[in-house]
Symmetry: C2
Amino acid sequence: MRKGEQTRASIVAAALELAARDGLEGLTIGALAERMQMSKSGVFAHFGSREDLQIAVLKEYERRFVQEVLVPGLKAPRGLPRLRAILARWLDRTAIEAASGCIWISGATEYDDRPGAVREELVGTVRGWQRELSRAIRQAVETGELLPDLDVDELVFQLYGVILVLHHDGRLLNSPDALPRARRSVDRLIDSYRAGPAGDGPGQGARAGAESGSPPDRQLARAGG
Amino acid sequence: MRKGEQTRASIVAAALELAARDGLEGLTIGALAERMQMSKSGVFAHFGSREDLQIAVLKEYERRFVQEVLVPGLKAPRGLPRLRAILARWLDRTAIEAASGCIWISGATEYDDRPGAVREELVGTVRGWQRELSRAIRQAVETGELLPDLDVDELVFQLYGVILVLHHDGRLLNSPDALPRARRSVDRLIDSYRAGPAGDGPGQGARAGAESGSPPDRQLARAGG
């Protein structure tokens, strides 16, 4: 990595911490320059505008999210084990972010009525993640572990709800029960869509497959606004 | 209502609209004075501080919420009909607020790491509402319509999740499916906790009661911090 790229990466990492605390809209070039012990123009040299910086922060957030949640999850066998592995990591990460702040969840209320490039980026990232979840759910339908007629988008919606309330109760209400409650809620949801007799094993039609699936190191594919 | 009270009520109503759009933290005495065509000191005369104004806005929000969601819900017979009536109104109101902005949901991410009186007020309101939901759920257990061993707090948590994702998908993603999806998700949740054979009627042990229950015109009781 060249020097310029290194500096840019350090600025983005510092900006990500600031944005987790103060929100993406609370991110100022001034505070960031102070944190980096750089001049404002030094920070500006790496980003054309504050908006470009905010978008870079969202992309870095997404990169880390993919590395921590999706990539390890994809190592689990295709089907229910993979879906459960992804969800377990998503829950753990959300519980940690309920302490440190999550720019994805706070960004959703910061930008929900603020049109522009940052909002587009945020929406694209959320949609990309929903597609990854949909893919993992569909694979668990294909292996026969989940019901063939389940509404994939609706299950994604319901799982997202558990994540949002985990963040809400953990962060606003400081509830110590939020994580175990969210884990049980996800299990209950998944179980309610299980094919065949309930139990520990995979459903009757299971093809135990460890097919490699998606390339694990890409960012979430975008469908655009 | 005396003149001073009328003016105060108009200021709070205007502040509620501004806060729905810009967030409680985005609420400034300046913008409010302009909206009211009053001087800043005129606005200040009715509120000791910006914080007092924010708290007054939260109380007014809560008053309207109780009038729109809880009071009509309490007219339904105690048990599952009442619980469903409250949830139906909460879903409808959330879908409308996904368009206009909800200071309760955006406030949760604005104040989750900002200690102080406004946060305390917000937390007290959320906890008060959770207690009302718990009461309605417990009554549906008492009428025999919901399972006797259900974890009331966990069902409240799961219902809250559906509301949060309805707001998220409706507002950030402009998803037209969010409301029907949320309604189905709530029905599915409630059904998964139903006692006795599934069906349209009340559970076997139902005591069809229209007992008057809680006084309908109070604000949500507070347990404090």
